[in-house]
């Protein structure tokens, strides 16, 4: 019997779903073992019956529920509650679902500030009121799923590597649950480290890092942090390289920005990064700002609107 799967996306960008498709041929293998019973991006199951005349939102029962995106409006809350009710195993897919993700950067601002700006840009015609007909009201902030429901499996990443999505799904289908590594990005990084360097100030990523010939292995390149470029690898959960292992940004010779969220649940990437820098004698004021150190994990109340004129 095929395993029933339901998919939903809330405050998401569809990247997590595309990452599922990026399993490539393994997708065809998975599709033979599962049966999608609901999933707006893939199939035409509707919330209120196929003719839209049902009395209440209904999602069919499923063994596995995949939910990407955080919570940002009342409809998200309703859909999430229904998914939780109907799915045995609820997977928070992607960093938006596990930690708020990039959209949680809005948590530094009030809804009023957001709406003011969005409906008054240079090109926007004056409007008397904010659209509300058929548009669900915003929640007070952008939340991770576990702020509202119990989550069974956390699969962070923006997006999660298809290898990991496959491993988790295959594990569930074969009844051999998979543990994702609780190590940091640095633990998977092949760059060479010379230990405590003399970095006193960080420079912005405005020039390429130093390395040898274009095709030279990443292992020959010195750690970006040791080169004085801010890299969030040490405070970020590893695994983004999937079976290829090398962290994906490092592969392109670009520093990590933390898209897998914190290494340990409940920790604060900005706080931990600033601490690590300070204790290594790096001048923190050389950073142009620090809100964006929390750019992937601003849910759970970590980013909040500030009083006028001050950064969160």
């Amino acid at each position: 019997m095929a395993v029933k799967v339901a998919q939903e996306w809330l405050n998401s960008c569809s990247g997590c779903e595309i990452s599922i498709v990026d399993m490539g041929e393994r997708l065809l293998e998975v599709l033979t073992k599962i049966e999608f019973v609901h999933g707006p991006v893939l199939m035409d199951h509707k919330y209120f019956g196929q003719l839209g005349d049902g009395p209440r939102m209904e999602i069919p029962e499923a063994v596995v529920g995949l939910v990407s995106g955080g919570i940002r409006n009342e409809e998200h809350l309703e859909v999430l509650a229904e998914m939780r009710k109907k799915c045995k195993v609820l997977i928070a897919l992607g960093t938006c679902a596990t930690h708020g993700g990039i959209p949680a950067l809005i948590n530094s601002y009030t809804n009023e500030e957001l709406l003011d700006r969005y409906y008054s840009t240079e090109t926007t015609d004056k409007c008397d009121s904010v659209p509300s007909d058929g548009v669900p009201p915003l929640t007070g902030s952008c939340m991770a799923l576990d702020e509202k429901v119990k989550v069974d499996i956390y699969l962070p990443g923006c997006p999660p590597n298809p290898d990991q999505i496959f491993a988790v799904l295959a594990g569930l289908l074969g009844n051999t649950p998979v543990e994702l590594p609780a190590k940091s990005v640095c633990d998977f990084c092949p760059t060479h480290r010379e230990g405590k360097g003399g970095v006193k100030k960080l420079r912005r990523f405005l020039q390429p890092p130093q390395y040898g010939a274009p095709g030279e292995g990443i292992d020959k390149m010195r750690c970006l942090m040791e080169q004085g470029i801010l890299c969030m690898g040490s405070v970020t959960r590893g695994g983004c390289g999937g079976e290829g292992l090398t962290p994906r940004c490092i592969e392109a010779r670009v520093p990590c920005r933390g898209c897998y969220g914190p290494v340990k649940p409940g920790t604060n990437q900005r706080f931990d990064m600033l601490n690590a820098l300070a204790s290594n004698g790096v001048d923190i004021s050389s950073l142009p700002e620090s809100v964006s150190l929390l750019r992937f994990s601003g849910a759970h109340g970590l980013l909040r609107p500030s009083r006028k004129g001050k950064e969160a």
Binding site: N11, V21, G24, L42, M43, D44, P103, L105, T123, T124
Partner: protein, 449 residues
């Protein structure tokens, strides 16, 4: 007042939206609305962030077209900081843009749109999807998955990260391409070109002919169009001038830096998403079915309508055949699919051209960048239409303000009109069934929102 019919959610599209259709006492359509939910506030929360970080933040606007947001953002920051990428940096960006288009069009055609055509618009919802195709046509499905994966892996392997890319950087590209990489990618893209040509033939012989009635009826409206063309007037995805065409086929070309003079955004009370319209036509905004005002479309059909030609031979031959059949500008909404496949052929041919340019392996890929105060508009063609990022920076190179006009949004007005047209045609005397509601959604899916 009569009944309201809700289609919630609209499915097999990339975004979050629903439709409500108002019937009168006779059960005929009196009004319809497409409700767009997404409101995340990127324009607000990028404020104060270092501009050079934006190309790796704004990607999250859309996981289907992150490359286009990434590149438009890079181009905007280049301008703010007054830097021009070296030729190889530019070539690599354009290559990524072109391969991303190639991948996206396969994804949309086969995964999102084809179920309506291969399984049929009246097929049961449980099989009218890509899983249904996998069962009904396994060899085709396998080939689709392989080819799309091949294109996607070009992006992933070479540029590190395919979804939410990081390899474009202000001043150019993060890493050069080696000769070995060039040769491998070239051979991959030749395979994808073969597949694109196969898909074009497949669609022209086995898909479109069966649905000519739908094509000439469903969601049909008359609008203007927008798209990017190069110096010679050919479609270009990465750079060029913007061309805004009126419904009668006359057009104006302009520099994307001046977009504010030509485009404005209207707000309707039923849609969180704003609706861009042609400010330059000086007629205001109206979705009136008889007499729309300021309404133009973006996306595949728009691009091939505004362009004089395609820059590559096979795509040009396809365009000629298309124009012979449907004229210029072609207005039938479902022709977006046909236009998409012509662009698919172009993407593959153009990627090959770029890879055959010896300059592409030049190791000088990034110019030195200094933060400064400035303003820059970055514009590229996303699969779903013209994409505009407009940033202003302060003296430290932090974002002071940002304005974004995203590809799909150009079509929000037209989508509303197409839905209205389809609903009026299909719903009479209060009779509604699944097939008719799905056909109304097909009018939306053509735009691939």
């Amino acid at each position: 007042m009569g009944q309201v019919i809700n289609i919630q959610p609209i499915t097999r599209i990339e975004g979050h939206a629903s439709i409500s259709i108002q019937l009168d006492d006779q059960g005929n359509v009196s009004d319809s609305k497409v409700h767009v939910m997404a409101l995340r506030g990127f324009e607000k929360f990028v404020e104060g962030k270092p501009a050079e970080e934006l190309p790796r933040i704004v990607t999250r606007i859309c996981g289907i077209c992150p490359w286009q947001h990434h590149l438009a953002s890079n181009k905007a920051v280049d301008r703010c900081f007054g830097v021009t990428p070296p030729p190889a940096g530019r070539l690599l960006r354009e290559l990524m843009q072109t391969v991303a288009h190639a991948e996206d069009k396969v994804l949309h055609f086969f995964f999102l749109a084809a179920p309506d055509f291969v399984m049929g618009p009246d097929a049961d919802y449980s099989v009218r999807n890509v899983m249904g195709i996998v069962k009904a046509a396994p060899e085709l499905a396998e080939r689709v998955v392989k080819m799309r994966y091949a294109a996607k892996m070009v992006l992933e392997k070479f540029a590190g990260k395919a979804i939410h890319p990081i390899a474009g950087v202000p001043g150019g590209f993060s890493k050069p391409m080696t000769e070995q990489e060039r040769v491998e990618i070239l051979s991959k893209m030749r395979e994808v070109l073969d597949f694109a040509l196969f898909t074009m033939e497949f669609a022209k012989t086995q898909v479109f002919p069966k649905y000519l009635n739908e094509v000439t009826e469903l969601g049909v409206i008359k609008t203007g169009f927008i798209g990017t063309v190069d110096e010679a007037g050919a479609v270009n995805f990465y750079d060029g001038k913007l061309r805004l065409m009126k419904p009668d086929g006359t057009y104006t070309d302009f520099d994307s830096q001046d977009y504010c003079d030509h485009i404005a955004e209207h707000v309707e009370p039923y849609s969180a998403g704003k609706m861009p319209y042609a400010r330059a036509w000086n007629e205001g905004f109206s979705l009136d079915m008889e007499n729309p005002k300021g309404i133009y479309r973006a996306n595949t059909l728009a691009r091939i309508n505004v362009a004089d030609k395609m820059a590559t031979p096979r795509a040009q031959a396809e365009l000629e055949e298309f124009r012979e059949k449907f004229g210029r500008p072609a207005q039938y909404t479902l022709l977006h699919h046909w236009a998409r496949l012509i662009e698919e052929v172009y993407s593959c041919e153009h990627a090959i051209e770029l890879l055959e340019n010896p300059e592409i392996t030049n190791p000088d890929v990034r110019a030195k960048v200094e933060p400064r105060a400035g303003r820059g508009v970055g514009c590229v063609e996303a699969p779903r239409g013209t994409l505009i990022h407009d940033y202003t920076t302060d003296e430290n190179g932090l974002i002071k303000s940002a304005n974004l006009i995203v590809g799909t949004t150009h079509n929000l007005g037209p989508i509303n009109m197409s839905v209205n047209q389809a609903a009026r045609m299909l719903i009479k005397g209060g009779k509604v069934d699944e097939s008719c509601l799905n056909k109304i959604e097909m009018a939306v899916r053509a735009y691939d929102p």
